[in-house]
C-alpha cells in the first residue's frame, strides 16, 4: 500500500466536500487526512487528500475524481 497524495482545485460551494468524500466511501477508499482551504479566488478552494492504496486505487481515484463536475483540476 503506497501513500497517495492528491492536490485538487475544486469549486468553492456548499456540498462539494460531500461529493468528494462520498466518492471515496463508495469506491471503498479510506481518506487518511484531508485539508481544505480557500484561495485568492473566492470561487475556488484547494484540497489535499492523503490516502493509501495500490496503483489500481490511485488510478481510479484520479479518474473518478476527474469526472466530478466540481473538480477543476487534479495534480
Amino acid at each position: 500500500m503506497d501513500k497517495i497524495q492528491l492536490h485538487l482545485s475544486v469549486v468553492n460551494r456548499f456540498g462539494v466536500l460531500v461529493r468528494i468524500s462520498e466518492l471515496f466511501a463508495r469506491r471503498g477508499f479510506n481518506i487518511s487526512s484531508l485539508e481544505v482551504h480557500e484561495t485568492a479566488d473566492p470561487m475556488v478552494s484547494e484540497m489535499t487528500i492523503v490516502a493509501y492504496g495500490d496503483d489500481y486505487a490511485h488510478t481510479q481515484m484520479l479518474r473518478q475524481l476527474g469526472k466530478l463536475h466540481d473538480v477543476i483540476s487534479i495534480d
Binding site: 456540498g15 460531500v18 462520498e22 489500481y56 481510479q60 479518474r63 476527474g66 469526472k67 463536475h69 466540481d70
Partner: protein
C-alpha cells in the same frame, strides 16, 4: 422582462428541446405546474401513477430517441420516489434531467413538511446535481444540467428548486439548445497501435456495448466488422448496436449470453471492446476472462479503462471518431479459418440447445409476438427470466428499440419505460414482463389507458419469481424461499378494471389470436401467457464462473 422562476424553468425546458415531460404534481411544485398549465400548447406533460413510473418513462423516452428525458416531482416523497429511476439511468448511462421542488430556502434544514435533502440522497446515483438558491441562476443551471446529461458518457442530472426560487422573478432571455462538451478524441498513437494489433490478429472479435448507441456509431461498428471480417458479440446494452440479421453478429455474451458469442470471445486472439464496461455479469470470472486474447478497450469514460478488466490497449475517446480513424488505417482482411472455428461452435450450440418444457414455451411467446411487429417497434422489458429470454430471442434490427434495465436490474422498470418509449416514438410498443416484475409497477396501466397508448403488455406468467427460483434450484438445494407467489391475480379482469383489454393464453394458437386483436387495438392490452414455473434461462455461466463452466442444458 422579468418573469417568475417557474416560468423560467418551463421556458428553459422548452428552449432545450423538451417536447414531453413526465411527472407528478405536489405542494412544492404547484408553481411549476401552473406554468406548465399556461404553456401546455408548447410542452406536453404526462402524469403517471407514481413518480417512479415517471422517472422510468423519462428514461424510456431518452433511450428510444437519444434526447434528454425530463421528469418532474415534488419535494420529499416525490423526490425520493425518483431515486430508483435515477439509479437505473445512471447505471445504463441514460441522459435525463430530473426537476424537484423543495421547501422555500427559509424552511430548509428545519425538517419542514415534505423536506428531504434530495441533492445529498442522489449524489451517488446522478452524474451531477444542483440546488438552485437564486432565481437569477435558474435558467443557466437548467441549461448546464442538459449539457452535463448529454455530454460524453450520458447520465441523469437532478435540479432541486426551492419554492421561493420558483416564485421570485428574474430576467429571462432564450438561448439556443446547448451543445454538449467537446468529446475527447483518441490519441493518434493509440489509434495506430490498435490498427497494428488488428493487422496482426488472426482471430479478431468485436465486443460492443451501449456506448456505440450513445455515440451513434452503429454504421462504423458494422463497417469495421465487415472490413476486418470479425464476429461481433455484445453486452445486453449493446444489443441494438448491430442488427440481429447482420452476418457478423453472434449475439449477446455474458451470464445468459449465446454460447457461440461467449465461446468465440474466449477463443479470440484479439478482443476489440467498444463502449462497454466489463460488468461482472458480462465477464464472469475476470481472472479467466479472454485469457488467450489481447484486449483493446475504447471508451469515452477514462475511469472505465482498467477498472474491471486490465487491458492491453486502453483508449479514451469518442468511439465514433476512433472507429472511423481505425477503419481508415486497417487493411481489409479475411479470416476463413477463424470463421470455420466459429461455425463449428455454432453447430455445437445448435445440437446442444436446451429444450424448453411447457405447452407454451417462453421462446414461443417471444417469437410469436415478434412476428406481428415491425422492426422499428420499441420493446421494453422488466427484469428477470423474461428479460433474458427477450434479449436472447427477440430479433432486434434497429438501434434504440430495446429498453431494458441492464446495469441496475430494476424490476418494475418496464411499464414506465414502455410508456415513455411509446409516447416518444408514437409507435405501438411491446413490454415483455413477468408476473413478479409487472406486480411492482402495474399501477402505470392507468397511465397507459389515460394516454390511450397502443401498448401490448406480454406477461410471461409462471406464478413464481423465476430467476430467483432458478438460482434456488441450482445453488440453494431447491429451497424455494418466498419465490412461489400463490397469487390469484386475474390479469384480463385487471386489464378491464383499468379500462384496458386483456387476454389469457396458454397455447401458441391462443397467443396468435390475442396478438391479431392486440395489433389492431387503439389502447393498451395485457396478454397473460401461462408458462411453466420450471422453465430456465439457458445457457448460464454461474456467478464467478468462466466459459468452461457454462451450463448448456
Amino acid at each position: 422582462m422579468k418573469i417568475t422562476g417557474s416560468d423560467i424553468l418551463v421556458e428553459t425546458l422548452i428552449e432545450q428541446g423538451a417536447d414531453v415531460v413526465f411527472g407528478y404534481p405536489g405542494g412544492q411544485v404547484l408553481n411549476i405546474y401552473d406554468s406548465l398549465y399556461l404553456k401546455s400548447d408548447r410542452i406536453k406533460h404526462v402524469i403517471t401513477a407514481h413518480e417512479q413510473g415517471a422517472a422510468h418513462a423519462a428514461d424510456g423516452y431518452a433511450r428510444a430517441t437519444g434526447k434528454v428525458g425530463v421528469v418532474i416531482a415534488t419535494s420529499g416523497p416525490g423526490a425520493t420516489n425518483l431515486v430508483t429511476g435515477l439509479a437505473t439511468a445512471m447505471l445504463d448511462s441514460v441522459p435525463m434531467v430530473a426537476i424537484t421542488g423543495n421547501v422555500p430556502c427559509s424552511l430548509l434544514g428545519r425538517d419542514s413538511f415534505q423536506e428531504v435533502d434530495i441533492v445529498g440522497i442522489t449524489i451517488p446515483v446522478t452524474k451531477h446535481n444542483f440546488m438552485v438558491t437564486k432565481t437569477e441562476e435558474l435558467a443557466d443551471t437548467v441549461r448546464e444540467a442538459f449539457k452535463i446529461a448529454k455530454s460524453g458518457r450520458p447520465g441523469p442530472v437532478l435540479v432541486d428548486i426551492p419554492k421561493n426560487v420558483q416564485i421570485s422573478t428574474a430576467e429571462y432571455e432564450p438561448v439556443p439548445v446547448v451543445a454538449p462538451f467537446d468529446m475527447p478524441k483518441a490519441e493518434e498513437e493509440l489509434i495506430e497501435k490498435a490498427a497494428e494489433l488488428i493487422a496482426e490478429s488472426k482471430k479478431p472479435y468485436i465486443y460492443c456495448g451501449g456506448g456505440i448507441i450513445s455515440a451513434g456509431a452503429e454504421a462504423e461498428l458494422c463497417e469495421l466488422s465487415e472490413k476486418i471480417d470479425a464476429p461481433v458479440g455484445c453486452s445486453i446494452m449493446g444489443i441494438t448496436a448491430i442488427p440481429d440479421s447482420h452476418p457478423k453478429k453472434l449475439g449477446m455474451t455474458g451470464m445468459h449470453g449465446c454460447f457461440t458469442a461467449s465461446k468465440a470471445k474466449n477463443d479470440a486472439d484479439l478482443v476489440i471492446t467498444l463502449g462497454a464496461r466489463f460488468s461482472d455479469r458480462a465477464t464472469g470470472n475476470v481472472a479467466k476472462f479472454c485469457k488467450s486474447a489481447k484486449i483493446i478497450h475504447i471508451d469515452v469514460d477514462a475511469a472505465e479503462l482498467d477498472k474491471n478488466v486490465k487491458v492491453d490497449l486502453g483508449i479514451r475517446g469518442d468511439v465514433k471518431d476512433a472507429l472511423a480513424r481505425i477503419i481508415a488505417k486497417v487493411a481489409e482482411k479475411k479470416n476463413p479459418a477463424w470463421w470455420e472455428e466459429i461455425n463449428t461452435i455454432k453447430a455445437f450450440e445448435k445440437e446442444n440447445a436446451a429444450a424448453q418444457i411447457g405447452t407454451l414455451t417462453p421462446y414461443q411467446v417471444i417469437e410469436t409476438v415478434n412476428s406481428y411487429l415491425p422492426d422499428d417497434t420499441p420493446v421494453a422489458t422488466d427484469v428477470g427470466q423474461h428479460q433474458m429470454w427477450t434479449a436472447q430471442k427477440y430479433c432486434f434490427e434497429k438501434p434504440r428499440t430495446f429498453m431494458t434495465s441492464g446495469g441496475l436490474g430494476t424490476m418494475g422498470y418496464g411499464m414506465g419505460a414502455a410508456i415513455g418509449a411509446c409516447i416518444a416514438t408514437g409507435k405501438r410498443t411491446v413490454l415483455f414482463t413477468g408476473d413478479g416484475s409487472f406486480g411492482m409497477n402495474l399501477n402505470e396501466m392507468a397511465t397507459a389507458v389515460s394516454q390511450k397508448l397502443p401498448l401490448i403488455v406480454v406477461v410471461l406468467n409462471n406464478g413464481v419469481l423465476g430467476m430467483v427460483r432458478q438460482w434456488q434450484a441450482a445453488f440453494y438445494n431447491h429451497h424455494f424461499s418466498e419465490t412461489t407467489l400463490e397469487r390469484k391475480t386475474d390479469f384480463p379482469a385487471l386489464a378491464r378494471a383499468f379500462g384496458a383489454s386483456g387476454f389469457s393464453v396458454s397455447t401458441v394458437d391462443e397467443l396468435n389470436m390475442a396478438m391479431k386483436m392486440a395489433v389492431k387495438n387503439a389502447g393498451p392490452v395485457i396478454i397473460d401467457c401461462a408458462i411453466d414455473m420450471d422453465e430456465r434461462v439457458l445457457p448460464m455461466i454461474p456467478p464467478g464462473g468462466a466459459i468452461e463452466n457454462m451450463i448448456l442444458s
